[in-house]
Symmetry: C2
Subunit: 156 residues, 2 copies
Amino acid sequence: MQFTNSYKEESVIPDDSVVRPKVKIINCPIKTSLGILGKKWTLLIIRDIGFLKIQRFNRILDSIHGLTPRVLSMRLKELEKEGLIECIEETKSPTRVLWRLTDKGKDTLPILIMLTAFGSKWYSSIVFEDKMPRKLNEIFPQLETKKIFNTYINNS
Amino acid sequence: MQFTNSYKEESVIPDDSVVRPKVKIINCPIKTSLGILGKKWTLLIIRDIGFLKIQRFNRILDSIHGLTPRVLSMRLKELEKEGLIECIEETKSPTRVLWRLTDKGKDTLPILIMLTAFGSKWYSSIVFEDKMPRKLNEIFPQLETKKIFNTYINNS
DNA sequence: TGTTAAAACTATACAAAGTATAGTATAAAA
DNA sequence: TTTTATACTATACTTTGTATAGTTTTAACA
């Protein structure tokens, strides 16, 4: 997925109940985020590394059906270049590498959580064994779900 | 973006601080959500219809640079089939159609808001005129940002 | 009463991106 | 010494997306 940089999106904003930002926006932050996160496989790779703690090249390959080594290699490089992941060398004899999220990478987790929430509500019949829709606190009772979004919301 | 349905992702869950769901998951909800929302242009089209209230075929085309009529036509059909958008005929003489989000479609807005938050924090230099990172309440003071997520979080 | 214009697509050829398969380099374990 | 594992890289092929143009319907305009 590639997005060009020219920006026409905010030019026309009609009136009725539009969610209108109160600060001047030059480039749409959604489009900007999707420029990195919107490519095929990228969010699943972040899910593996950050959520499931599947952090090695071949483990990720095993985990994501359809993903090929070439594309995984490209995506890891892109994510590393964008500062979302970093690699730590476990050993250097049989080159053993672990990938982990940076602070910037960790800030994508609220997006993954919202994708989880959406899927758990509207696709519960294929997601859950009992086919019942669930809210986030039912899926992750150990997480203080409201605190997840503190990075992005001021508590004033 | 197309994702196959076989599910191997939850098979290996190592130990340290994995976000482990407390209910049995058959298909990953993130992968499931991305099956519909993860295709190129889809989230930008939802942004137009739901956020910016750009709701007509050619208005959306004008708004999203690089999107072609063929792909827009395909995406609108996919989204309609999946029940995320519906069309209302304004007039039928010069066929004038308006697209709007269904309740299911509106439930994708928290995902868009998180993409906004991520872009506003980490790409503020290209998003905002003054290049300063911002939290959600600063961008949308009129929105009760915490309430946006009520659909997905139990208040018990 | 043509002609133009707008809306909402549809068709075709072409280009970019992703996929399948196989191969490389390194080094430890059997 | 052969096998296995890790982390890629290369090549050909297939799918998907892109650019350009065309179609249909009606309505307003000259």
